[in-house]
């Protein structure tokens, strides 16, 4: 199938997701995700305009917009954590704070690399920054999925579709960017052709799962994740108290 046609279908599906989200009231439930979809659609339109009007600038523009897309996708992880752990506020708060710290550290590290000019040209440096952020995102997503599976967190149909579609696109983007950044690797050429299809499949998953609002399951009376969190919090408090006592004793002697 023609690549342009696939991207056109992706844009139509994105518009359908936004429209159905508005009709079914899902935009209020998943605001960050719908902002991300809006951002994706805007980026696709801008890329198309750039390619048509100034094809020479397309390469640099592509990587700049790709960086914006990757940063925006962190908001989706944040949203998934927030919704999946909404009945476990203590765990959700810690997870969100950790995610924020991870993002700031990864961004600062990659940005410092960019500022010191280690990557050569600006488009190359932007691509590297996006790649590092995507690797970190992939690792965070892996931990998140392990956590959900281990504690058997209950998902509604909407959140499940959102998470599965998102995992699919991030997993393949990570591999694609890794191959693309390896010079002389011919596999990247084949994978490059595969990107529009992965995005199309993701949008089909999102469109199908977010077509209508589906009920969220009732949380179990006793949650294993809450229990483990309470134990961990108590152990940390005890360790900190022990440490502060030892520091106090050392300072006095």
């Amino acid at each position: 199938m023609d690549t342009n046609l696939i991207w056109l279908i992706v844009i139509v599906l994105g518009a359908a997701i936004l429209f159905r989200g508005l009709r079914a009231g899902l935009q209020k439930r998943y605001p960050f995700f719908y902002c991300y979809i809006e951002c994706l659609l805007l980026i696709e339109v801008l890329r198309f305009l750039c390619l048509s009007l100034t094809p020479t600038l397309y390469g640099a523009f592509y990587w700049q917009t790709e960086l914006v897309r990757i940063i925006g996708s962190y908001a989706v992880i944040f949203e998934i954590f927030k919704r999946a752990l909404r009945h476990n506020p203590g765990v959700a708060r810690i997870a969100q704070q950790l995610l924020l710290v991870v993002f700031v550290v990864a961004f600062s590290y990659a940005a410092s690399d960019l500022l010191h000019g280690g990557s050569g040209s600006v488009p190359r440096a932007t691509a590297d920054l996006g790649r590092y952020l995507l690797y970190v995102e992939g690792a965070v997503l892996f931990v998140m999925l392990w956590l959900f599976g281990h504690y058997r967190i209950s998902f509604g149909g909407n959140l499940l579709g959102l998470t599965v579609g998102y995992s699919f696109v991030v997993a393949l983007d990570v591999v694609n960017l890794a191959f693309l950044s390896t010079p002389g690797n011919e596999s990247s050429i084949g994978l490059r052709k595969f990107i529009p299809i992965t995005h199309l499949l993701t949008f089909i998953i999102w469109c199908a799962s977010l077509w209508s609002s589906q009920p969220d399951p009732v949380p179990p009376a006793e949650s294993a994740i809450d229990r483990d969190y309470t134990i961990l919090a108590a152990k940390t408090k005890a360790a900190l108290a022990h440490l502060s006592t030892r520091v106090e004793r050392t300072l006095r002697s």
Binding site: F142, V164, S167, V175, P215, P217, V218
Partner: protein
Amino acid sequence: MSGLIPIVLLSTLILIFSGRLLVQWSRQSHAQVVSIEDYSQARAALDSVFAETAAIKRIFANEDMEFISQAGTADVQRFFLKERKRLFNTMGAYDSEAGCTIS
């Protein structure tokens, strides 16, 4: 090229774990997990039964009868008893239609 192996592994694990999430969800939906909407509806139905019971108890409260016996005239007492009996018969007919009994 060796740097690609952890990345490919990470990507594969993400796909496997998201597949596991799908399998868990499918098992849960087969087990017919109660949704928040179902729970809210059941809770509302139960609350309405409790509210109805409380209202019936208040209508047929002994305190009213005691008050009327002490403060009311014979006409008022007769009128009160007649009204209560009529109310009881009306509610009895309504509940027998609905398939319940007033205890």
